[in-house]
Symmetry: C2
Subunit: 388 residues, 2 copies
């Protein structure tokens, strides 16, 4: 196992677009390759994350078509992975292993999603396929329902009144929109107020509109290589310090959804490989598909004690400049959530932050960053730790 | 990179069933684990291939649910890959790398597909999504159409009259059904005659019914481990000698579909890693989704000169006992083709053959076997070489 580094990253603007899956992917991939001071001919393998290409464009078997689109010849293996919203992070972890093993020197990994053309009812139905089809979908459960239940669970378990928790959750939304307003690639580049969040329409009690991330189109890509190549090619390579991945079955098989075991296990793996602890992380891009999801994730990753995550938001601990800046990019909530691309977009932000290229939303002195993606109702979780 | 071996394999009977995706997978996976003299608690990672779970059961994000179904705890990463009909072979190659790198010692890989519940029209439409959605599906192209065109191309390129070629193709069907009749897990365990093939109804000129493999349900699984563990655990470990994978874009981007470059490249990688040539292969399970597909594959893999594959069938070179026995299991044509499981089912047959456990269909003295899976119209190809 040898050291692996990120050479370059690329990302499209997130949000509804007329571009096709191929076009979105190519835009992000070619930017990542160009930023790496490479050409497509240098890429030895492609890993790509996509969830709903079959529903969006009637396209499965996507990887080869994407490889061809950016000029990769037939000898280049192109592999698609899928693990719901954790998809691109899984792809990253696979790409990492093929370089770490010494088998390939330069590997491209990307994620892409296009859902705007599906329309909201089909997209909602399709997203729900990441829950257990026999016991959860069957009951009409969709993700706002899953995370609404989680909100009640959290409030009840820790004895926090629902109005208090909702206000703390609203602060997550306000913070992430504040950060997203400074991100030119974010879907929503606009501040929102507490009043706006708390007066928005009810989606699934107690989750209101601004507790929920949007459906998004978009793509992101990353070039990985051995440390030697990275140092020879780019001025500021970013090292991959640790990776972790966990899994889980249906909700009914999980003891306590506020303490997701797949995430706890995944984070533990990543920390162990990196040889660090939660307190060493300077910033984190985590899976805020709903405001409550950010709070719960911040606890599972070890940034706060269990039951303290919501109060920590209130204290400002997760702001840029706080104890542990969370989602300086704007997160899924404001940057957007093209599900098959999100993991690589999180890496994009961490890499840009560690290089000090984030302008107004820069986390000063950031040396170690972490990503966290949650697939479905904890069925798949991936964590990545990067450092300079 | 260290040596990797197969400890155990498992497979369901192929063909329509009332079992669910989870049940099919569990049956094959637990058999593979049991045959390896292990329990589920020994498995350190899961890779799983599935193509159409979202259409068949409304289930994506499948890997975690399958992991849970066989008792794998949350710390075990479970990853789904998809590359159309090459899906399970991609999963195998990923699993191989995680063991070869030294990261994991014992990894489970499986593939599963359930399409009978979808009905033929939806299954036909869904399978077509493995072609290019913008230029091929759009024209109404489905796979019988792709391979019908290939038949005409082949006949024309090599100056073989269509009636002669069709008779040679019919011999592929007769041979594979002959083999499948000796395989208790095959979907069709019945001999067929030349007359039956040549008088069957026309699907897509010149392909008739018995030129085409069926839609199938089924699952197959394989346990991979380091050579040391394999030798300690089982009497007859089978070594993984070589792996290869190639990719391609739309048909319009491929110069000559009778010489699929993704397959040529993939086979070259596998031979190079194994340090052998085509002449060293004792038997091959290859992708006979249509009879013409077997002929073309046998050439791309180097068993016959280009243009000689169809005559080789006539000479009996591909029978059990011939120069290079092809599809002793019955192949996709007779054993069946649950698309996301096929690659692992090919490995199942090779492993059983190399262990000498195939009874009446045994290839005598087989020491080195190869698999070949084709995803879509050459968008993804994977080759694996195993040996004892």
């Amino acid at each position: 196992m040898r050291e692996v580094a990120v050479l370059g990253v690329g990302m499209t603007k997130f949000g509804p677009t007329d571009l096709s899956i191929k076009e979105l992917f190519a835009q992000a991939a070619l930017e990542a390759i160009r930023e790496s001071n490479l050409t497509s001919r240098d890429v030895q393998a492609l890993f790509v994350g996509n969830v709903l290409g079959d529903f969006a464009e009637g396209q499965m078997n996507l990887a080869g078509f994407l490889a061809d689109e950016i000029g990769l010849p037939p000898r280049i293996p192109a592999t698609r992975v899928e693990g719901a919203c954790a998809t691109a992070s899984i792809a990253f972890r696979e790409a990492f292993m093929w370089v770490a093993s010494g088998f390939y020197d330069i590997v491209l990994v990307g994620g892409v999603e296009k859902v705007s053309s599906m329309g909201t009812p089909l997209a909602t139905r399709a997203f729900a396929m990441a829950t257990d089809s026999h016991y959860e979908e069957f009951c009409g459960l969709t993700f706002p329902g899953v995370f609404a239940m989680l909100t009640h669970l959290y409030a009840n378990k820790y004895g926090i009144s629902l109005p208090t928790l909702k206000e703390q959750m609203a602060r997550v939304a306000v913070k992430n929109h504040h950060n997203g307003a400074m991100n030119p690639l974010a879907q929503f580049q606009a501040e929102i107020s507490m009043e706006k969040v708390l007066n928005s329409f009810m989606v699934c009690d107690p989750l209101q509109l601004y507790d929920c991330c949007p459906f998004s189109d978009g793509a992101a890509a990353v070039v990985l290589a051995s440390r030697e190549i990275a140092q020879a090619r780019v001025a500021k390579p970013v090292k991959v310090l640790g990776v972790g991945q966990g899994s889980a079955g249906a909700l009914s098989r999980q003891k306590d959804f506020t303490v997701m075991q797949s995430r706890v296990a995944s984070a533990r793996q990543a920390y162990k490989m990196a040889g660090i602890e939660a307190r060493d992380i300077d910033l984190c891009e985590l899976h805020d598909c709903f405001t409550i999801a950010e709070i719960v994730a911040s606890e599972c990753l070890g940034f706060f004690e269990f039951g303290q995550g919501s109060a920590a938001v209130e204290k400002g601990s997760t702001r840029i400049g706080g104890k542990i800046p969370i989602n300086p990019s704007g997160g899924l909530k404001s940057k957007g959530h093209p599900i098959g691309a999100t993991g690589c977009a999180q890496v994009y932000e961490i890499v840009k932050q560690l290089r000090g290229e984030c302008g107004k939303r820069q986390v000063d002195g950031a040396k170690i960053g972490m990503t966290d993606t949650l697939g479905g109702d904890a069925g798949t979780v991936v964590n990545l730790i990067l450092g300079v």
